[in-house]
Symmetry: C2
């Protein structure tokens, strides 16, 4: 470009909700610092919204309803997409790339749905696609995974990446409430949306898990590849049982590299899943309460790392967007794009059935000789090895609390099905996976 | 350069101790991944060591004692400096820059001593100087501070950045041992060096604090600007007193932006200090035990963030070196350098005397009426406001435990001096700063 050295870099902002308005405010408040850090002033060229009348507080001359025209305008250098959802975000992003403009996005759903195609489109135009804000809000996470650990091999990423469910589970543990009651409280306080499905059923966490796995293992992983269980089936009993074995219940996003798997999986594979699990209260993730997020990373050489901070909210998310904006702006001025290939390893995604997990199971059984033997035999038949058993008798009934060793998830769930059908078992009162126990 | 696209990028390795040999191993083990991530193979062109005979395990034809010739060799593209210390590392680094080669370094002492001049030399040659490994080992920290938070304003960085002192303080808390005993144990176990001065007296942490402050506040801060107190004066009494007020003792590196200071400091200033302090056991840093490091960051928009991991050791440090190596290699292939300016803000460094801190003080006093009033009057005379007092009588003596509100450090230390001279005070049994109490 033959633009003079001092021409500002101009940003098209798509969307102006909580995050978008925080982005606007930061661009204004940090103007001098942004100029120093980028090497040129950064200014907003236009703001695409659906209903301009709903945005009385932003400079009116910047508002437009024609997002597609805005992203391709000649005076726009960079695009910030904070609309969310699949469409029209995808179409706008592809239009921006085609017009030679780098994009900063906070859109986890879109990146998890269609990451490889979007990256390919950006690369074909020699521009950047950055999206630190899409996972764990303000926590610097994608850049460390992609860049700081670029010379290492990541084994495992385990994160609490959804604040709403973490708040609900924290309240269940603190008050003994059931799921429905804790959800109602979260809704009242504004921690859960009116339709909480995306959070409570794990869709939000699954999108983030897909993004984390893609970057960690240099392998395309989409949301559809992620095994997903939400927290609506977590009961007060599950939470109480967890406490009895020194654990707490968290909704975890787990991305693992499984080295040289089983006969069906000759090479390394990746296993990506979201489900509630019991973790020891001594685990660094156990102390992450309320609406905070944290992500635990294990790498070959670096060992154990943890990243902690606010996972949502306008200001924290805007901080991550601005960090990316500085990076893509600097790349644009340097005439370079900033990222390496992300999908070269192309590892297979291992289905949950074949993925090694551990289970906690609580059973109500008849308190008579031979019941434990019968139950243990059922585990053995599925080749599931038992780590610990506790039996508490009360009258003619007893509670059996069993924690297994690691086994293929299908063998564990088959064992549970068989137990449910067993005459000696009056009820399976709690089943949850267990993570992080030694 | 007209080199063909497939020519490997060649690395000169300066130093081959614990970190250097781990770097060599990772370059070898991760060869395929590095090729994919960089876009070209990465290979080692030569290894400069003082005594080749001490390195029987590395390819002998790569060894040289002539480091200066190695860094300027035409077939060397990038330099990794893991010698440590000021010289000859500084001379070699400058020679590398002059020859147009980017440098990855793990050298905290040199960066803290002479960062601005080294950055200027790299910039003048259009090459990179990266040093993630210099602070907190494997924890991705400098890249997040510099890049992820580039659109935010950092207020405060508080870190446990020295594993040796953290191990000693952890053991003092666990066993009730005094400093000398815990140091002896650390030395026996290899957690402390034969000459532990750099760790125990806070020089290592001060160098890291200078680097963190420089990046966080875009202001040149050198090790000489950092107020420094080590842990050799921390007593078993201090540790016990901390536990009594729900705290634990940690050696902290604290970097703060003080907004619009006092009459003597019209603009924003930065305060950078290393000293032992009591922090609440509920603070995220309190749980960081043994040889782990953790750094707590507060930014305007991002809020509170924490980074946790292994702060030292060959493999973790090598992981950080390799991450930087990938970045500078990619920058070289793109014909760009990767970093923005670091010192543009040029804020003044505020001396410790003017820096607001809080103190905990334990006094042995005569248990008679009026003593508390006399003591309280002395705090008031120095305009130090008291937050809490606890008085425990035993016989004709009593213990006064006082925690102050925030006041200029000079006023606090003047108060302590005055208390020592007071007839009613039989002894000042414990004085430590307090951080993170609300």
């Amino acid at each position: 470009m033959s633009a003079p050295e001092t021409r500002p870099l101009r940003v098209a902002l798509l969307g102006c909700g909580t995050v978008g308005s925080a982005v606007l405010r930061l661009i204004d408040e940090q103007a001098d610092d942004l100029t120093a850090r980028v090497g040129r002033p950064v200014e907003v060229a236009g703001i695409a919204v659906r209903r301009p009348a709903h945005h009385p507080d932003v400079p009116q001359h910047l508002l437009t309803t024609d997002a597609e025209a805005l992203v391709t305008r000649a005076d726009v250098d960079l695009v910030v997409e904070v609309i969310g959802g699949i469409e029209p975000a995808r179409t706008l992003m592809l239009a921006a790339f085609a017009a030679g403009k780098s994009v900063v996005s906070a859109n986890k759903a879109l990146l998890a749905d269609d990451g490889p195609a979007l990256h390919a489109a950006a690369a074909a135009s020699g521009v950047d696609l950055y999206y630190e804000a899409a996972v764990a809000g303000a926590i610097p996470l994608l850049r460390p995974l992609r860049e700081s650990l670029a010379g290492d091999q990541i084994r495992r990423v385990v994160g609490i990446v959804n604040g709403t469910t973490n708040y609900i589970l924290s309240r269940m543990a603190e008050t003994g409430a059931g799921f429905a009651e804790a959800l109602a409280e979260a809704t009242d306080l504004g921690y859960a949306e009116a339709d909480p499905t995306a959070d409570v059923d794990g869709f939000d966490a699954a999108a983030k898990a897909a993004i984390l796995a893609s970057l960690s293992f240099h392998t395309p992983v989409s949301a559809a590849d992620v095994y997903r269980e939400g927290i609506s089936a977590v009961s007060a009993t599950d939470v109480a049982r967890a406490a009895e074995i020194g654990c707490t219940v968290k909704l975890l996003a787990i991305c693992e590299r499984v080295v040289n798997g089983s006969p069906g999986h000759p090479g390394d594979t990746v296993a990506v899943r979201v489900h509630p699990a019991m973790i020891p209260t001594t685990h660094p993730l156990a102390a992450v309460g309320g609406a905070f997020n944290a992500v635990f990373v294990e790498a070959e050489a670096a060992g154990q790392l943890m990243f902690y901070g606010q996972g949502a909210g306008g200001e924290p998310t805007a901080s991550a967007v601005l960090g990316d904006l500085v990076a893509v702006a600097r790349n644009r001025l340097a005439g370079a794009s900033g990222q390496g290939p992300t999908g070269y390893a192309g590892l297979a995604v291992r289905p949950i059935a074949d993925t090694p997990t551990r289970y906690h199971v609580s059973l109500d059984v008849a308190d008579k000789p031979g019941v434990l033997a019968t139950v243990a035999q059922e585990f053995a038949r599925q080749e599931v090895s038992i780590a610990t058993v506790r039996q508490d008798g009360h009258g003619d009934a007893a509670t059996l609390v069993i924690v297994t060793h690691s086994a293929p998830d299908a063998a564990l769930s088959a064992t549970i099905s068989a137990l449910r059908d067993m005459p000696a078992v009056r009820g399976v009162t709690s089943v949850l996976r267990v993570e992080g126990l030694s």
